[in-house]
Symmetry: C2
Subunit: 338 residues, 2 copies
């Protein structure tokens, strides 16, 4: 135990920062048609991907993302000490069936749409702590399985309000290693549950924004860094409404996000032409943007240091139907070439 | 990174084993009437616990277990660096709402009924790795919310086959610390997903038993230990059927579990008089038995070294309705007074 590793209440710095030696992004058709289409390893046009259900298709996205990331990292499943992964489906079944055939020791995660950052955080601790040489971090979501589970049957054709977001279809996986080349995770800031009383399941950005602001603020306070220390700060899937709330909340605390802050939900889709209303969402939103786009920009040294603050609405239909508000959470991962 | 910490493919030994400085077990009425009733901190007779729904009651069990464990450990929520927790409800809502008011950085876990061991495992890595001075590990389940979600409405009064198990109502929480007195977690063995093709949601013991056998075997192979190195080996919630499968499977591999092996599902209830058929199940099963009963026996030095191998059926109703089999997983935690 060396408690000197811990800096501030919510942030830990790694003494041996793990390298992200490879990633993969497997995207759906709409995601492939968006601005980042060129950055994905695979674009799957058929939402069923030849399976009998959207849920089985989601598991296939996950399996394909993990296998592709392993292959690109030139390792096999048996080289991986742990896989940290999760998704939005009840009992995380996208993950359970997706990684079933891999036979990798499995740490099951649930962080809703913050799962990419949660999985990266736990995987980074496993590697830096010496418990693993190699860890995989992965998550998935699927527009059709998520709409069906959380909102309405797709066939119903329910109208979506302007505040609604579009759950991304796809899966991303990152491979963390104690050795090897690649951008490194130098510190993480783990979020608390923040609930400001939003009850509208069609306004997730507003439900999650206070959690993102809380974690970003904790990160800056714990580390002594400011927004300008990063080339890019990205939240996970706040969309237009949530993003503007975060900018306002941080401004009140004295931090200016106007220069270098964006949201994965606004990067993944073109809101003006793709009919996604407030932007993208879902575990796959931050996963596709990080594992596909941002990782490539870091490899190409267009970005040297980023802060990925994925965001999750810890929503359950049962709880919302019982009148509960929607708790949010956000976990931040600092990734650097230095 | 010191890869010497890692012994064998699935097991890690801790260089600074975390102490379990306190636990709490908050149980439902039926659990309180069982053989271990005297070991629980609180027994709640009303399945709604004064709330408007079983789900809200489950969250109250979780909150009460965490707050009681903190109080018994003479610390407050602000002393806790991370809480690792999860439950069986869709999107882990028992946990999300249960710990919402605590404002502790939250690592969300999903391991179905293996969650107590999963949470203990991740919490132990956080403490031993120097990322935390204090971590909480918790989980919950509730018979009524689980039956309603996974099987039939309670009002339907569906008949339960002899292989069925009874989801425990309650929550357990353990507090891990880098300093302080208490039994220590000296090593953990993290399980893989094992699926032998069981599709019967009323025979979870059979679905999980191969996973338990796989993890126990990995533990013995990785550590060089044998069953006789433990005063007690307990699986989480295999019940009568699953337990006998594990004994048979380990016997085939040359390990004799006949002397000192039991299952939390058979310890929590009296199967002969409490009408629980094959035994107890649910996240709370292993949690109540460990946090209530086994922890006390260790404090009283009646047990010096135990292996808690909690077991989870990664079942989703959607997946089962789509004809999928039920994957199992088991995580083992070695706890010692030495």
């Amino acid at each position: 135990m060396s408690s000197t590793k811990k800096k501030g209440k919510q942030t830990v710095f790694f003494s041996s920062p793990p390298s992200i030696i490879g990633t993969a992004a497997v995207a759906g058709a709409k995601e492939g048609e968006g601005p980042l289409g060129a950055y994905f390893d695979t674009i799957v046009k058929d939402s069923m991907w030849g399976e009998e259900s959207w849920e089985k298709a989601e598991s296939k996205f996950m399996e394909q993302a993990v296998r592709t990331a392993l292959s690109k990292s030139k390792i096999t499943p048996s080289d991986v000490d742990y896989i940290c992964a999760g998704d939005l489906l009840n009992q995380c079944s996208g993950t359970n069936y997706g990684i079933r055939s891999l036979e990798i020791p499995f740490l099951g995660m649930y962080g809703a749409c913050s799962t990419m950052a949660l999985s990266l955080s736990v995987a980074a601790m496993c590697v830096d702590g010496g418990y693993a040489d190699v860890c995989a971090a992965a998550c998935s979501s699927h527009f059709c399985s998520a709409e069906k589970q959380f909102r309405f049957p797709l066939e119903y054709g329910g109208q979506r309000p302007p505040s609604a977001q579009w759950t991304a279809t796809g899966s991303g996986c990152a491979i963390l290693s104690a050795a090897g080349e690649g951008p490194k995770i130098d510190c993480i800031t783990t979020g608390k549950i923040i609930d400001k009383g939003i009850t509208d399941a069609n306004n997730m950005g507003a439900a999650m924004a206070p959690a993102a602001a809380d974690t970003l603020l904790a990160h800056f306070q714990d580390t002594g860094r400011t927004p300008s220390d990063y080339d890019l700060i990205v939240t996970g899937d706040l969309g237009k409404i949530g993003k503007s709330i975060v900018v306002d909340m941080l401004k009140e605390e004295g931090f200016d996000l106007s220069e270098n802050y964006n949201d994965c939900g606004l990067l993944l889709f073109d809101c003006d032409t793709q009919d996604v209303h407030s932007g993208g969402s879902g575990c796959a939103c931050a996963a596709l943007v990080f594992c596909g786009y941002l990782y490539r920009l870091m490899q190409e040294k267009q970005l040297n240091r980023i802060l990925l603050a994925a965001t999750g609405a810890l929503m359950s239909t049962t709880a919302v139907q019982q009148g509960e508000s929607i708790p949010g959470i956000s976990h931040a991962v600092s990734i650097t070439l230095k």
